[in-house]
Amino acid sequence: MQKITREQLIEKASALLSNSTVSCVLGWGMGEFDYDVTPTTFNSVEELEKGFVFSDFCGANFSKYLVKKAAACEGKILVFLKPCDTYSFNQLLTEHRFDREKVYVVGIPCEGMADINKVKAICGEGILSIGSKGDKMTVTTLYDDEPVSIDAKEVLAERCLNCKSKKHVAFDELLGDEGDVIESNRFDEVARLEAMTPDERFAFWQNELSRCIRCNACRDACPACTCEKCVFDNPNSGVENKSPANSFEEKLFHIIRAYHVAGRCTDCGECSRVCPQNIPLHLLNRKFIKDINEFYGEYQAGAEEGQRAPLVDYTTEDLEPGEVFDRRDSDA
């Protein structure tokens, strides 16, 4: 489904390595299967040729890696960023989390990434290979004699179905065609929950969050969660917590996680992508984004470097906390 090819990316990376613009490349490394791609640093053209892949399963947002890798790389590091990744990139720059001068950004177009869970929901377990051609994916499995052809749109990840932008907001160079900010329906699901009764909402989240195993994947993959030490890991914070002993602690962790990134979250969707329990964590973040948009005016974190996040800003005319509900009730 992707319009840009592995070969184009390798060619670009090789050129930048060869003319010493960059000394290493952050890209996608080949896995055991066609879908288990690992973020990998490549140091030479040979390594790229051997291990670099690009496919519909290259969803990982590389921005956060730059916090560690930009400093560790001797020269500049080349990073391939999809449009949504560039928002995180800007947000991290706004927060001074790495040195822009150490990074060379090649913006690449993205047609939306696939969700392997959706592929498996259609094709079942036992996937041997996944090929992609145009809008179709060809899946061979252990249990089907013939390869199964599926519509690539059908297996798009949730975040890509609700893609907010095909436009790169930060780059040194672009490959392929530049897109635009998109009118998405990403808040529909939040609105659906808002329309429920409190009891229904409570039941919904109780069910979702009860699956949480506190593996911290959501936090550790989140490009906004780059704290040197998370409050939940810090024995001196007073709220250190390693596992959810009960439903209160499940809620506490996820409320605070979302609150700490409120106004900073770019809605990249990594939290939900990596959740082993498929908890729709992005809905918590989106709730904050939707509220901020409605209360304080449209705000897209990471749209520009140096923006002031809404929760570290104010106007004298802001609405009162009590009016939050009056507003919504009158809307309803």
């Binding site: 927060e95 001074h96 989390r97 704290c227 040197e228 030490k229 001196n236 007073g238 570290v312």
Partner: protein, 664 residues
């Protein structure tokens, strides 16, 4: 673990009437850390305080909990008691069991129960208290005044009078500001120059005052008592210390047709100029955009005629770094641009002028040597229309006007109308007003005199439009009281333009981390009680930079600001509030969120090298709180996602301990 002593006060029957104080003392005995617990009739009495002191010695107490009245009442008292007993005063916590318990609850049972809980919370907190010492910082005994108008001049003189050195930074070639451009001053009608220029001379002659004219502040670092300021002295191509102000160069300069800013462009000046006769410093300045010598190296006439040899075409901008203990902002105001008010035809007719232009037209040193003549043809105007509130109180025209009342226009318009009628009784003078606002000593009397003694025609209503027609200005207006529309053929129209803060104020506010309102007026620390202080410690406000003001008000505020500065500079050291924020550098992300919410600019960032656990080193950006500037609000602590930022005296763990104690 602390050794905590608990002291429960009866406050006579004030507390003991509703709270079983003995039961409270008894219950708190078994709280963690408590080694001593007692009760007494009046804890704040000398006997009560002695009881605390003795207990500290006898039981080796490290912390004290007093269950008594509000800490707003006696926290200071008990802190002193603790200090007298050799304890750190911040090892005292008060449980407010009077105002917030015994006085609001009737029932002994619930009152006692609540008092115990409040006591437990105080014990829980004091267990986590640490001795705090207020930080001290030295005070640089020099003040900076930014702006050399009447506000800046008065402030500087008052500070210098008290014996402290002051520097004035003025961006124009001379001090004097707007007042220097005025003709007469209301309500006494004495001439502005007569009362201002002696003050300007005082400034020039005062050896405590330095004037940096034709200069700007380009950088401010540091904090109250310790500001580091960079001042850019623009090249004026004339050696200030040599120039005698004789004016020979001005006479000889061949580039004579440069619009004269001092007369608002109504006449011309040469490329080398002295703004006005009484300028301070009385030094010539070369306008680099007009001077042929500077532009293409052809001319050099001024250098030839200067017998003192003061001309220096190679002069460069100079940067001066100076330390100050206090900064006074006196950046003043400007009339807003009239260009967008098409209905008043300001851009179409030379005979529609602003009030400030009117001041120059009637000033003896002005372009018409004090004769009121029409700018278009130099004829004497017979019908003059004054329009008030042009751009003021204008809510729907944000792009051209101001929502607020400019305050000074009613009075100066009355002054203009009166003076016109006084000097030229043959003129007909109309003043169109929405409201006449003249509160102030002798102000309303002044306005009434204009009407009653001088026959100025005040019309309630606004001018709708002005159309130049031939030599006349057709003024269409409404008289709301007579309920009719007026059509006046005027010779001259004077617009009372709204005033706005000087454009240099906004970038300056950013440098000073001083807050501004949406109109770019500086915000005062408290609208009623601290009107001349900015919320940023060490920054003071003088004059119209804080809001529209007339001269008497400006001068009194200037004096007030000066007295605040003197109070600050009189101190050798500043003692801070010890309850300040501090960042744990090991877990600080350097993300700048805290600095964004800090109202005082107390947080800065530095790159620091850390030794990592694996023995590598890493340079990380970290936040540093300046304890002398921090006021301890705690906004930063909540915005910090990693919890690196905490507040002494109200630490995260302390507040959570209180929550826990209350909720258990």
């Amino acid at each position: 673990m602390q050794r905590v002593g608990v002291f429960v006060c009866w406050c006579g029957s004030n507390i003991a009437g509703t709270v079983d104080v003995k039961a409270v003392a008894e219950a708190l005995k078994s709280e963690p850390g408590v080694v001593f617990s007692t009760d007494y009739q009046y804890m704040c009495s000398q006997a009560g305080q002695d009881m605390i002191k003795n207990a500290v010695k006898e039981h080796n107490l490290t912390g004290i909990v007093v269950c008594s009245c509000s800490p707003r009442m006696h926290e200071a008292t008990f802190r002193k008691t603790a200090a007298a007993a050799g304890l750190n005063p911040y090892m005292v916590e008060i449980a407010n069991i009077r105002e917030q318990c015994s006085w609001v609850h009737k029932d002994m049972l619930s009152g006692t129960e609540k008092a115990i809980i409040l006591g437990k919370a105080a014990v829980a907190k004091v267990n986590l208290n640490a001795p705090l010492t207020p930080g001290e910082s030295p005070v640089t005994k020099r003040a900076l005044v930014i702006g050399g108008g009447i506000a800046g001049i008065q402030t500087a003189l008052d500070i210098a009078d008290a014996g402290f050195p002051v520097d004035i930074v003025e961006k124009k070639p001379t001090i004097g500001g707007k007042m220097a451009q005025l003709d007469k001053t209301f309500p006494t009608l004495d001439c502005a120059a007569c009362i201002l220029t002696p003050k300007m001379v005082d400034v020039a002659q005062n050896d405590k005052i330095r004037i940096f004219s034709y200069s700007e502040v380009t950088d401010v670092q540091g904090f109250v008592g310790n500001f580091d300021v960079t001042i850019k002295k623009n090249a004026r191509y004339v050696k200030e210390d040599i120039c005698t102000g004789c004016g020979a160069c001005v006479d000889k300069c061949p580039m004579k047709r440069i619009p004269n800013e001092f007369n608002l462009g109504m006449d011309n000046r040469p490329a080398i100029y002295i703004p006005f006769a009484q300028a301070v410093p009385k030094v010539a300045t070369i306008d680099p955009n007009a001077c042929n010598m500077l532009k293409n190296g052809k001319c050099g006439l001024c250098a030839k005629v200067c017998t003192a040899g003061a001309i220096d075409y190679t002069q460069k901008d100079e940067y001066i770094e100076e330390k100050y203990g206090a900064i006074v902002v006196a950046t003043g105001f400007n009339p807003i641009s009239m260009d967008k008010f098409d209905e008043f035809a300001y851009s179409q007719s030379k005979d529609v002028i602003t009030s400030l232009e009117f001041e120059r037209l009637t000033n003896a040193a002005g372009p018409s040597a004090g004769k009121l003549l029409r700018p278009s043809d130099g004829e004497h105007p017979h019908t003059i229309v004054f329009v008030q509130c042009v751009g003021s109180r204008c809510e729907s025209c944000a792009e051209k006007g101001k929502e607020y009342c400019s305050k000074i226009c009613c009075m100066y318009t009355a002054k203009h109308a009166m003076l016109t009628r006084d000097k030229y009784p043959d003129t007909e003078v109309y003043v169109f007003y929405i409201d006449v606002r003249t509160p102030g000593k002798n102000f309303d009397e002044f306005y009434r005199r204009a009407v009653e003694e001088y026959g100025v025609k005040y019309v309630k209503g606004m001018v709708g439009k002005i159309t130049p027609e031939g030599k006349k200005l057709k003024v269409q207006a409404s008289d709301l009281l007579a309920n009719k529309q007026l059509h006046i053929d005027a010779d001259l129209v004077v617009l009372a333009a709204a005033i706005e803060p000087d454009k240099s104020a906004r970038p300056l506010a950013t440098m000073l981390t001083a807050s501004m309102d949406t109109n770019d007026f500086f915000t005062e620390a408290h609208p009623k009680l601290r009107p001349v202080e900015s919320p940023t410690a060490g920054v003071f406000l003088s004059g119209a930079c804080q809001g529209p003001k007339d001269i008497p008000e400006t001068v009194s505020q200037a004096g007030a600001a000066a007295s605040k500065v003197i109070g600050l500079l009189a101190k050798d050291k500043l003692t801070g509030n010890p309850c300040v924020a501090g960042s744990n550098e090991l877990i600080c992300n350097g993300c700048s969120s805290c600095a964004n919410v800090c109202p005082y600019g107390a947080i800065s960032y530095e790159d620091k090298e850390f030794r990592m656990p694996d023995r590598t080193t890493k340079v990380r950006r970290i936040a540093v709180v300046n304890p002398a500037v921090c006021q301890g609000c705690g906004a930063c602590t909540v915005t910090c996602p990693s919890g690196a930022m905490d507040l002494k005296g109200f630490a995260n763990l302390q507040i959570m301990a209180e929550v826990d104690a209350i909720c258990k």
